[in-house]
């Protein structure tokens, strides 16, 4: 009904109106400042343009706030109003089903008038929904325009020769920047909170201790929610990955920062960092297609050696080792790039000191540069570990699905992230312990990686202070 105005969606029209109001306010503010200045703008506390910006800001901001609030909460207000008007019979269905019922009403309402279903109650509810939605829009737009008017009116009254418009505009910009930063933080908090509450629902069904200390995981068919095999798999694969990434990353960082010519470094460093830009699914494919079969034939070969038992290694077609090796390659740039930065931050005077004592280059690196860079290097490694723990695609493709505690790297394992994917794809009911366990896993994973990152950040800070 109020969906479009002519051919334009009404929201666009509103934007145009507000933008125009902003422009008009700007010119009014400017003109009035010039007028009050009586020919000498030097008498003004702030230049005319700032009076204009101030008035425009004061006009647009209230309207923008109201519209943002409406777009966040408007529809749910309409829905709850509709829900309270539905007959008792439907309201008895329960939150879940009623939500789905209203979803269908909203969907039907979108098709426009005349899309009747023949179900009298449903059609009536659709009509009611449409008119409620239209009403809410009119109210929101009215409020926005009113807010703009009020903002303009009060701001206009404050303008004078001595008005510090420049400082107020500065405040406004600061506030806007702060709000943008706050959005990032609030989103993070929102994600954590939703994870946390879903996890709580899970722990209402499965005791925390049996989740954290249980050694049997069988969420798909049974009701075993012991997460230890998943943690084992996660850390096993992260460990294997670090076994690859830590030495290669670190040594290449040392080579790049201490030995390579600046020219070589300027070419190779970006290439190394390019590794980090390859989509993980490509790595996963590589792991599954090339590395996993290699690991398997290696395991078969080891088993066939005369002095080893024939069943020494599991030799599975997908394996922890395959996933770990490829993940290690993926996180090399995390280690090398960050370590390279911290090694470069070690003051040249320390190196000179060592050379002047008659140390060779490798002695200097080993005994002076690396000890000085160590905290930063540790931080780089911790960040890489948290990356490895959270990595999903490679393990989904190359590590297998079996939840087991096996120190044999050629056997298949599963990790927290793989299980989350498995639990949330395909047919899911959002109320079962099986689905909720994914959130509990996600929450625990979040806590673990958060801890790693926090420690890393602390270490890096300490390190910074040392050379300031």
């Amino acid at each position: 009904m109020l969906e479009t105005f002519g051919h334009l969606p009404v929201s666009w029209l509103l934007f145009a109106v507000l933008a125009a109001a902003g422009f008009v306010a700007f010119f009014i503010g400017r003109t009035s400042a010039v007028a009050t200045a009586q020919g000498s703008t030097a008498r003004l506390n702030s230049q005319p343009n700032y009076h204009g910006y101030f008035l425009a800001m004061a006009t647009i901001a209230p309207a923008a706030v109201i519209l943002i609030l409406y777009s966040l909460f408007g529809e749910s207000m309409v829905r709850s109003q509709l829900a309270s008007e539905l007959p008792q019979r439907i309201r008895d269905l329960g939150t879940m089903e009623m939500g789905q019922y209203i979803d269908r009403i909203a969907e039907n309402s979108q098709r426009g008038p005349g899309s009747t279903t023949g179900n009298a109650l449903f059609d009536a509810a659709t009509g009611r929904y449409t008119s409620l939605l239209g009403l809410s829009r009119i109210i929101a737009i009215g409020l926005a325009l009113f807010g703009a008017g009020v903002g303009f009116f009060f701001a206009r009254r404050r303008l004078s020769v001595n008005f510090r418009a420049r400082a107020r505009v500065e405040d406004g910009i600061k506030l806007m920047l702060f709000l943008c930063a706050a959005i990032a933080i609030l989103t993070t908090l929102g994600i954590v909170a939703s994870l946390f509450f879903e996890a709580l629902r899970f722990f209402a069904r499965v005791p925390v201790l049996s989740f954290i200390f249980g050694t049997e995981w069988n969420a798909q068919t049974g009701a075993d929610f012991g997460a230890i095999p998943l943690f084992f798999g996660t850390f096993m694969i992260a460990f294997l990955a670090m076994l690859v990434a830590a030495p290669i990353g670190l040594l290449s960082a040392i080579y790049l920062s201490e030995y390579a010519s600046p020219r070589f470094r300027s070419i190779v460093k970006p290439i190394l960092e390019l590794l980090a830009g390859i989509p993980t699914v490509v790595y996963g494919f590589f792991a599954l297609q090339f590395v996993a079969p290699l690991v398997r034939s290696f395991a078969v070969w080891v088993n066939s050696l005369p002095f080893t038992p024939d069943t020494l290694l599991a030799a599975q077609p997908t394996s922890a080792l395959a996933a770990g090796l490829v993940m290690g390659i993926m996180i090399i740039p995390f280690v090398s790039s960050l370590s390279d930065d911290v090694i470069n931050a070690v003051p040249q005077t320390l190196r000179d000191g060592a050379y002047a004592m008659g140390a060779t280059k490798s002695e200097t690196v080993k005994q002076v540069v690396m000890p000085a860079a160590l905290p930063g290097v540790i931080a780089a490694l911790l960040l890489a570990v948290s990356r490895a723990i959270g990595e999903t695609m490679i393990v989904v493709m190359a590590a297998g699905q079996r939840a087991q505690i096996s120190p044999d790297p050629t056997s298949d394992l599963t990790t927290i992230t793989v299980q989350i994917v498995a639990l949330l794809t395909g047919d899911t009911e959002f109320d079962s312990a099986k689905t909720l366990s994914a959130f509990a896993l996600g929450f625990v994973l979040f806590i673990v990686t958060l801890l790693f990152n926090l420690i890393a950040l602390r270490v890096v800070q300490k390190y910074r202070e040392k050379y300031e």
Partner: protein
Amino acid sequence: MDGNVEDFVETARNKQALNMAEMTKVDCRHIDVFYDEKQAIYDISMEIQDRAVTAFIGPSGCGKSTFLRCINRMNDTIESASVKGQIIMDGADINDPSIDPVLLRSRVGMVFQKPNPFPKSIYDNIAYGPRIHGLAAGKSELDEIVESSLRKAGLWEEVKDRLAAPGTSLSGGQQQRLCIARAIAVSPEVILMDEPCSALDPIATARIEELIDELRERYCIVIVTHSMQQAARVSQRTAFFHLGKLVEYGDTERIFTNPEDSRTQDYITGRFG
């Protein structure tokens, strides 16, 4: 003009060659230094006396540090730098390919402008050189070297109770004396100091100057300084550099009271630099 200077340096060297031949520790002959294409040192020849303090003075960027770093071949660590000429120390040219710069640097210690203790304990800072050069047979011998080096640097009393504390925990002046002790620990013959007091307060500076005066009896010391007073206080001989050239070189007293070159005169009276 330049010809005069060259002549002057030449005659000065000849005069000294007679009475100080056996006291010369480092004999630099026709040193040129280039950073890539850019020449920083032009044909400098000078003889540096043993058991004396030689001061290098001159305006910023005139090549004092560059020339100083030739004496322990620290310029080797700078990719773009190349050094031409001979530096004779104890009868051998240190620029000869057969000389290992790593060993040379254990004979020619260096102290830098900014104190640069290693991220290690006070003890390990001093023990660093003796360890890499295998100068101590055992723990007790190493302890002795550490103690005697710290004593010579006048730091022993202040740190003897906290040898395990990190070197960076000391004050700036103490750190600089730690660096001097570190250089002394490998029993060098020559000690090069590049503006060792410029990052220190006046009291710490006075302490270091005293120390330099004591060390003079045992070592050949070369110090780069920005402070004319410091050069006058601590050195026996002074060399004035300008635009990569050695303008004047002689007894400190004479340089400061009766300079022969007008540029030296201008510099020490504060007219430029």
